[in-house]
Assembly symmetry: C2
Homo-oligomer: 456 residues x 2
Amino acid sequence: MTGTESTAGRTSIRLQPNGRPRVVVLGGGFGGLAAVRELRKSNADVILVDRCNHHLFQPLLYQVATATLDASDIASPIRTVLRRQQNAVVVLSKATAIDLERQQLMLEGVHEGQAEPMPFDWLVIATGAHHAYFGHDDWAKRAPGLKTLEDAIDIRSRFLLAFENAEVEGDDKCRRAELTFVIVGGGPTGCELAGSMAQCARCSMPRDFRGVDTRTARIVLIQGGDRVLPTFSPKTSARAQRILERLGVEVRLNQHVTDIKEEGVFVGDDFTPARNVFWAAGVQAPSITRTMGIEVDRAGRIPVGGDCAIAGHPNVFAIGDVASATCAKTGRPVPGVAQGAIQTGRHVGRIIAKEIRGKTSDRPAFKYFDKGSLASLGSGRAVADIWGLSVGGRLAWLIWGLVHIMFLVGFRNRISVMVQWSIQAIFHQRGARLIAGEEEVRVKLPELPSNRDHGS
Amino acid sequence: MTGTESTAGRTSIRLQPNGRPRVVVLGGGFGGLAAVRELRKSNADVILVDRCNHHLFQPLLYQVATATLDASDIASPIRTVLRRQQNAVVVLSKATAIDLERQQLMLEGVHEGQAEPMPFDWLVIATGAHHAYFGHDDWAKRAPGLKTLEDAIDIRSRFLLAFENAEVEGDDKCRRAELTFVIVGGGPTGCELAGSMAQCARCSMPRDFRGVDTRTARIVLIQGGDRVLPTFSPKTSARAQRILERLGVEVRLNQHVTDIKEEGVFVGDDFTPARNVFWAAGVQAPSITRTMGIEVDRAGRIPVGGDCAIAGHPNVFAIGDVASATCAKTGRPVPGVAQGAIQTGRHVGRIIAKEIRGKTSDRPAFKYFDKGSLASLGSGRAVADIWGLSVGGRLAWLIWGLVHIMFLVGFRNRISVMVQWSIQAIFHQRGARLIAGEEEVRVKLPELPSNRDHGS
C-alpha cells in the first residue's frame, strides 16, 4: 500500500465471522491439501495459508533442476486446485509465528516488521521442511539444496553454466573442476539428481559443445551411510548403486563431508576439486515451529501424538515433514515422504470433520500404510520396493512414471509432463535448458590468440 | 575462477587461429541466427556471442507474461539450435565494447571490471533493442517492460499478485487500484498484452477467487498516437480496437503519460489510480552501440548503408532492431520486427559468404519484403494485414497460430506450445500461473475480526 490510506474501516473480505468454525491450514503441500480436501463437506470455513501461490509436486523437482521439465509442469496454482471447494479460501501470505495462547497465526503484515493476527478454531501445521546444513550454514551459498522451484532453477543454471564455462576454459585443471559435480547425500533426491545429471551430460549434451566432451563430466555422489537409498531394502540399494555406476556416477559410501570451499569438497583430508556442489542431505523444519513455546526435536520438528495433535492442544495438529509422528501399528517414525504427508493430512482432516459434526468419541491413532518406495535414476531406469519386492530397470521405471503422472495435480500438468518425457525419450533433448538470471552469467574467457593475420 | 591459478599458459579452446577468417556475430536473436545459418557452408569460423544461453522467440513473450506459456516453451538453447552447424561456436558472454580500430569485441572478463578482447575479421552486430522510458528511467521500477524472459516472469508475477492482493484487500478504493492495469503503448506488444490480460481476468480466473470478481478488473491501454497498431493499416487498427473493447479493454488514444507514481498514472492532470503499470512504448539500442566512436541515432541505433555495413567499415554490419536501415525499394525504414531482423541477417550472411569465397563484386542493396503483419488479441481473436488485405477474427487467429508455430525454433517447443494452446482453448486454464520469488510476496492483510466466539 501507499502508506497514505488509513487502515481504519478496512473489513476483511469473505473472512467475516459467520458462525462457522474456522480451520486454518498452514501450507499447501501434499499434507495441507489432503487435510483441506477432507474437510470439503464440513460446515466450516477452511483457510489455506501459503507463501507460494502454487502447490509444488516435489517428487519431480529434480527434473526441473536437470532441465527435463519446466517449473509450470510440476506446479499448480493452489486456487485452481481448490476452485471447486466452496468452503475453502486461499490466502497468500507468510506466517511468522504461531500463538497457541491466543489461538492465532501471525501473518506478515503490510508494514515492515508488523504482523497481523489470523485467529483459528483449528490449526493444521503443514509447512513441510527445508534442507539443513548441520550447523554449516555458510555452505548454503556453495552447495544449494533442492526444496523449492527457485532452488531447482538455481541448480539448473549452475549445472548448465558449468558446461558453458568448461567450453571456453583453457586450463585443463580448471576445466576438470568445472566439469566435476559433487552431490552430497545418497537419499532419493541425491540419487535422482546424480542419475539425471549423468544422463544429461552423456546423452543430451555432447553434440552441442565443440570444445569439451561433456561425457567426461564427473558426477560424484557422497553418502554418509553404508548404502544409497537407506530407506529402501538393502537389495534395492545395491541395485540402485549398480545403475548409477553404470551411468558413470562415482558412488562414495561411508564418507562425511567436512568442508565445502569454492574450489572443492573436503572429506577429512581427501580433497575433490569441484566447482559445483549440490546438497541433498538433511532436512530441518522451518523456524516458525520454535515460536510456539513447545519443545521441538533437533531438526525443529513438532512432536505429535497418535492423533497428530500437539500435547495439551487438541485443536492444533502437525502433519507431514514438519511433524515427528509415529505409526501406531509398527511403532516406527512416519517417513518424510509424500505418502506420509498425504496420510497424516487425511487423518487430521477426518478427525476435525468428525468433531465439527459434534462427534467427540476417542480419536483413532494414525497408522502409516507403506505403499512402497520409488526412485528414478535416469530416463528408463528406476528402482522400487513394492509389497516387499525389489524391482529394478524398465519395469520399475514404468511403474515410477505411471505413479508420478497419476499423483501429479492437474490435468494440464499430466499432459505436459507426458509430452516432455516422450520428447526426451525419443530425441534425447531436454526442453528446459535455460540459464536464468543474465546478471549472473560471467563466463571466464581465456586470452584469445589473435586471428587477424589470416583470412580476408 | 578462484583467483589463485595463473592465466599464463591458458589456451583458448577451439578458438585457435587456423587460417580461416573469423566471423563474430553478436546476439543470438532472429537476425544473428539468420546470419550464422547463412554462413553454414562458408570456409570460416563463425562465433556467436550472446549473454543468454537461449534464443528467445519474442513474438510469444507476452504469453509468458500472461501465464499461457512457460519460459522454456519459447526459448531454445542456442547451442542446440546450431548443433549441426560444425563451423559455428557459441560463446556465452557479455560484450562490453566494440573496438573498430583494433577490430575486436571486448567481452566481460574473469575479474571484475576487466575485459577480454575477441578479435574479428567480420563482425555482425545483432544485439536487438530493449525498452526505453524517454528519459524517465525512474519509471522502470514501477512500469516494467517486456523484452526478456526475466521481464516476462516479472510481469506475470505482478499481474497474478494483484489479484491475490485484491482478494484480501478490505478497502474498496485500494482494491479498485489493485485491479486496474495500465498498459502504456498501443503497438503489437501493448495490444497483445492488453487482450491477453483481459481474457485471463474474464475467462481463466473468476472461479478461483472468493472475495473478488476478477471480471471487474480494469485494463487500460494508453496510446500516444491516434490509433492502436500504428504500423498496420487504418482498417486493421480500427478492427483491433473493436476487438479489444469487446474484451473490456479501455482504449485511450492521443494520450501521453506524463508521470508514473506508485499510486497510479498521470496523463497531464488526469490521474488514473492503478497499482500495476506495464510499459510497451519505445525501444532503445543497448549502450554498446555508443562505444564504437560512430554517430548513432537518438534511440542509439546504428545507421547502416544498403549493404547493412557501417560507413567506412565494410566488414562490420548491424542488423535487426539495433540497426537503422532503409529498404532500397521503398526508401522506408526497415521495421523493427522479426521479419526485418531475419531478412537483414540473411542479406549480411550472404554478402560475407560471397566475399569469403573471394567474390568482391558490388554488394546488393537490401530490399525489405513485407510478408504481412499479425497481432493476436486474446485466444481465438487476431488481426492481420496480409497482401494488402485486412483480416480479423477467427481466420486471422488461425493464420497467426500457424505462422507462430512454424517460426518457433525447435520441434519440442512447437509441440509444447500447441499442447498448451489446446488446453487453454478447451479448459480456459492457463498453465503457468506461478508467482516467482517468494521473497517479494507481501500481501496486505486487513485486520481480521475475531472468529473465536463461534464454532467448536
